[in-house]
Structure formats: structure tokens, C-alpha cells
Symmetry: C2
């Protein structure tokens, strides 16, 4: 327990290290889906106004839906843990002998036997909290996650909007002051998105504790593939439907 | 362990119950983001062709990016578990006395003391697998998740594409045979999306084991909010940039 507390106090920049994974996956998804809208619109030759309108509409709606989805999913995991723990407390109180035998089986599997096994079972089952905690970890393989749904959802949303708006920057500046050619805009957007994905991809290696170049390469490859797909679909569909 | 095996064999329809959460969150995200594109394009009065082109481009690119993000995230969790376990094996072999003291502290906290505590520590540390397993669960609060990255990613992708294409159906039929008015299309799309979200929302209550009506209401509310946001942004931006 003490070790766990210490671990969750690790901070990088302004937020706890444990929320970096939400920042990374929210940011990657935001940049890639927004860049895909840009690439799809470019493939279909739809013009600056459409790129900005649908890019921003998608950014806000998708960021919102992803964060709320994240909220429900994190909450469902916590609720699931709480529900199973409540069930174990009920079983310990109402089916004590069966649950005691399960503790015996668990500790027999660890190598305990004879009188020592009996004594261990007595100590574990003497305290209901220890008893239930053992059932949760050993029978159900469940441990409590400290992350709160509102925090995982907030970090996801902020990161999605922040990183996800980068592919649109060139178009927004051009839209406000229309003196730049369309082809250049897509190039600027690609470069900006590449830089954003490189930064988030390198943060990813903090989460995964793996090689930083592998993290960047994976992220850029993923972004490039998604954008190519969107460009290709936009291009093909323009021919079909226009 | 036995209970865990039994639990993971539960099947609903064709896939294991443990992958329902991926199906639910992939489907909700797919339907909502695609409907948001439709609503955003409708708010900006962009026409059928643009809705279809950007809707499909977004569906494929976003479904791809969400699934690959899911793959990396599930894989990162497994890698994280494996890395910590490898570290614990190393510590057990190289810092045996320190790790033995940690086992002593863990069992002292459970209520063991004196000679019985010594015997328990001896049995736990006699088997390296049991020793490391105890450190993983008690010190790091980590248990192994059985889900494989390729399966969570596949279920997410299939569900995203399947449920996410529903908001576009009316437009695609109209695009192939253009004899339906624009206003009707958005109404048909809203109704179809509402039905899709109702079905997926009711599946969600299987995951969360909560009230089915609450699951449906939450999902519809979320979809409605995201679509309203996108419609509003599309509407406002059209006035600014056109």
C-alpha cells in the first residue's frame, strides 16, 4: 500500500504520471482524426471553408464523445470492482465456510500445508477486510485502480482538443486572411501534424518505458496511414458522387 | 485461477463477454462521431455529396486510428505488467533479503506475527513464482489482464465501422438514387442513429451490470449532445467563413 501511494505521487510537468497515457492516447487520436478530415477534404478537393468547418466540428464532437466514452469506461471498471467486492463481503458473511475453503485452496496452491495452512487460514479469515482483499486479488485477479473517471476524461478531452487543433492551424490562419494557396496549406498542415505526433509519440515512450524512436516511428506511421486512407477514400468518393 | 478461467469462457452471441466493452465503446464512438459529421455538415448546409465523402473518410480513418490506439494501449498495459514482473524476478534473485522483508511487512499488515509470520515468509519465499506473484499483487497492485491487443483492436474496429456506418445509410441511398429532399435525410439519419445507440446502449448495461434504461438514456444523451455541438459549430462557422 505504501509503495502504491508513493508511486501515484510521481508528477511530470503539471499532472500525475499515471494520467500521461490518457494525454498520449487522447492527443494521438485528436491529431490523427483531425488530420484525416483535412486529408479527406483535400482528396475530395473541398476547399478551405469546408476543411475548417468540418475539422472544428469533428474536433469538438469527437473530443467530447471520446472523453465521455472514457468517463463511462473508467467508471464502469471502478463500479465493476466495487460490485464484486460488495459481493465478496456478502459471501464472506453468508457463506463463510465455502469462502474459508477457497482461502484454504488459494494458500494450498502457494505451497502451504498441514497445521501451518490451518493457522494461515485462521489469520486471513479473522479480519474481514483482509479476507475479502485476498479473494479479490487471488480469486478474481482484481486490484483497485486509483484513477478517477472525471480526471481521465478531462485529460483526454484537453489533450484531444489541444493536439487535435494543430492540423487545422494553417487552414484557420489562411481562412482569416485568404492569401495562401490550397496546396501549400496541406503541406503546412502535414508538417505541423508531423511535429505534433513526434512530440506526443515521444511522450508515449514515457508511458511504455520503451525506445523513444520506436514510439515516434509507430505514431507517425499510424498517423500517415490513417490520413492516406482518408485521402484515398475522399478522392475515390469524389469521383463517384460528384 | 479456476474461477477466472470459467469467467473468461462466458460467451454472448459469438464473442467472449469480456470483449463486449470494446464492442460497446467502439460502436458508441463510431455512431456518435459519424453522426456528428452529418450534423456538422447539415448545420453548415454542405450537401449530400460532402456528407457522404467526409462521413465515410472519417469513419474509416477514425475507426482505424481508434483501433490502432486501442492496440497500443492494451499492449502497453501488458508490456508494463511483464516489465514489472521481470523486475521483481530480478529483485528476488539479487536483492533477496530486502524482498523477503517486504513479504514480511505485507503479511504483518494482514495480521500475522511472531513465529507464524516467520513460517509464512519462509513458505512464500521458497517458491520464486509465488514470491513474485505476491509482490505483483500486494506491492504493485497489478494483476494480469487476459485480453490480447489484437482482439481488443479488432472488436473495436469492426464495431466502429458497423455501428458507425448507420448514420450515413440514408445519405448513401439518396446519393445513389437522388430523389429525396435534404431535410428528410437528416431526419432519417437521426432516427437510424437513435435506434443504433439504443441497441448499443442496452448492450452497455450488460458490461456495467446496471439498469438497462439508464444505459440507453446515457448513450442517447451523449450522442444528442455531441451532434448538437457539431451542428452548432458547423452552423456558426458557416457564417464566419463563407
Amino acid at each position: 500500500m505504501q509503495h502504491h501511494e508513493v508511486q501515484s505521487e510521481d508528477k511530470i510537468l503539471f499532472f500525475k504520471k499515471e494520467y500521461i497515457s490518457e494525454f498520449v492516447y487522447g492527443g494521438i487520436d485528436g491529431a490523427i482524426t483531425t488530420f484525416a478530415v483535412v486529408a479527406g477534404a483535400e482528396g475530395a478537393s473541398l476547399g478551405i471553408a469546408v476543411v475548417i468547418i468540418l475539422g472544428l466540428a469533428n474536433l469538438i464532437a469527437d473530443g467530447f464523445s471520446m472523453s465521455v466514452g472514457n468517463f463511462f469506461s473508467t467508471k464502469a471498471q471502478r463500479d465493476n470492482f466495487d460490485r464484486h467486492r460488495a459481493r465478496e463481503y456478502w459471501e464472506v458473511e453468508n457463506l463463510g465456510e465455502i469462502e474459508k475453503d477457497e482461502i484454504r485452496e488459494i494458500y494450498a496452491a502457494k505451497g502451504f500445508q498441514g497445521d501451518l495452512l490451518n493457522q494461515v487460514v485462521e489469520v486471513i479469515t479473522a479480519d474481514k477486510d483482509v479476507w475479502v482483499d485476498t479473494m479479490m486479488k487471488e480469486e478474481l485477479q482484481m486490484t483497485k485502480d486509483d484513477k478517477t473517471p472525471i480526471k481521465t476524461a478531462s485529460v483526454t478531452f484537453i489533450s484531444f482538443i489541444l493536439v487535435g487543433s494543430i492540423p487545422l492551424l494553417a487552414y484557420i490562419f489562411a481562412g482569416l486572411d485568404s492569401g495562401i494557396a490550397g496546396a501549400d496549406l496541406f503541406l503546412y498542415s502535414s508538417i505541423l501534424t508531423g511535429i505534433a505526433l513526434t512530440i506526443v509519440g515521444s511522450l508515449k515512450s514515457i508511458v511504455t518505458e520503451r525506445n523513444i524512436l520506436a514510439g515516434i516511428a509507430e505514431t507517425l506511421l499510424l498517423g500517415g496511414l490513417a490520413a492516406s486512407l482518408a485521402y484515398f477514400v475522399g478522392d475515390v468518393l469524389e469521383r463517384v458522387f460528384r
